[in-house]
Subunit: 222 residues, 2 copies
């Protein structure tokens, strides 16, 4: 992707594109496992139920060209996607709140394959501090700024109880951590220039519960 002639539109794909690219990566990884050599955007489109022209447009952010009638080389496309998405590079991250969900993420070794290295956890509970979770040390949250000079975390993963979310977000920003990944159901306000993503697992639950209740009501009417 490094290029001297970079332009803004290439370096700034919109979020919906960045959300679809991992689908394509998952699909072409599967094809590689099956030793498939080439794949066209029309066959990706058929498999994933996404418009083929949308796929061609999404893939145009990559430094890779498909061949007419043959399509993309599977191995090259997989590598280009992994590199572009940042999954091939290690990114240091810290967990803020080593409770139930925080510990779970520290124990989830699958995240490493997507370039996420959780290097430390932080908490206020004396039960958690100075322990290790799957080999990852947990420190007192008060030492975050000090530790950050050594840890150089790019991402602070926020898994504290909801009423602490903004407090630890502020601590992370003060410590100079440039990105926040908020797993709490709370809205977190950020300083300009801070990267934030909200993984609102509880709001996904809310949508499912609501749609399930609609299904039950339909059944009752039928």
């Amino acid at each position: 992707m490094a290029s001297n002639n970079r332009n803004i539109s290439r370096d700034y794909p919109p979020e919906p594109t960045l959300h679809r690219l991992p689908w394509y990566l998952a699909y072409v990884s599967m094809l590689r496992h099956r030793n498939v050599e080439y794949v066209s955007s029309t066959s990706i489109a058929r498999e994933l139920n996404v418009d083929a022209s949308q796929i061609a447009k999404d893939l145009s952010v990559l430094d890779i060209k498909g061949k007419t009638r043959i399509g993309y080389e599977v191995v090259a496309l997989e590598n280009a996607l992994r590199n572009f998405l940042g999954f091939a590079t290690g990114h240091n991250a810290v967990i803020l709140g080593a409770g139930s969900l925080g510990s779970a993420l520290m124990a989830d070794t699958g995240l490493e394959r997507f370039g996420l290295n959780i290097v430390a956890g932080f908490d206020i509970s004396s039960e958690m501090i100075n322990r290790e979770i799957k080999g990852i040390p947990v420190y007192h949250i008060d030492s975050l700024a000090d530790m950050q000079t050594r840890l150089k975390a790019e991402i602070a993963i926020i898994t504290v109880p909801v009423e602490q979310a903004q407090i630890v977000a502020d601590l992370a920003m003060e410590a100079g951590i440039p990105a926040l990944w908020n797993f709490t159901p709370s809205r977190v306000l950020t300083a300009p220039g801070t990267v934030i993503q909200n993984t609102s697992i509880y709001s996904h639950l809310a949508v499912m519960y609501n749609r399930l209740s609609l299904l039950r009501n339909e059944d009752r009417i039928d």
Copy 2:
């Protein structure tokens, strides 16, 4: 929320509303902890940086009215939100894929407070089967349909490796599980009437990595 005069627009709030309601719940829960008695949509708006008219519109899906100049009663609003979002009711769920992420979710006791009861896990690995994770049994995936008659799971949580996602999704739908919660980076195709939510933690990582690389490039230019 039960009402004889139900109408579609009340029973079918759009997803963005269902995504914002948990923010309001998190905020009013915090106010209750602080023994605050009333809250107005303008003060929620200020705290959460959401437009006040949007908040009033979102809250209109609830069977609760604010008082002019005083606002909503905090305890009543918290209860109305919890009930409406389905967090106050237990919903049975099964984990399909008791690997790293699946085990982590089974160990995350925090989900129970949002109405999610994970009653069983399913896997194909003989190392996992007939074990328990935090007291939750793990069975062979082949027994899913049989077990479902007893478990009555409403939600199948998909945490298998990406190439297995569609296969277990199909098994879940065949077993009559009405909702799928897909944690894999793969797109999952569903039968009409099936509820699906994708929690694409990897695509959130991709967005953060990309935005971080843009920040670094800006720094280089400055």
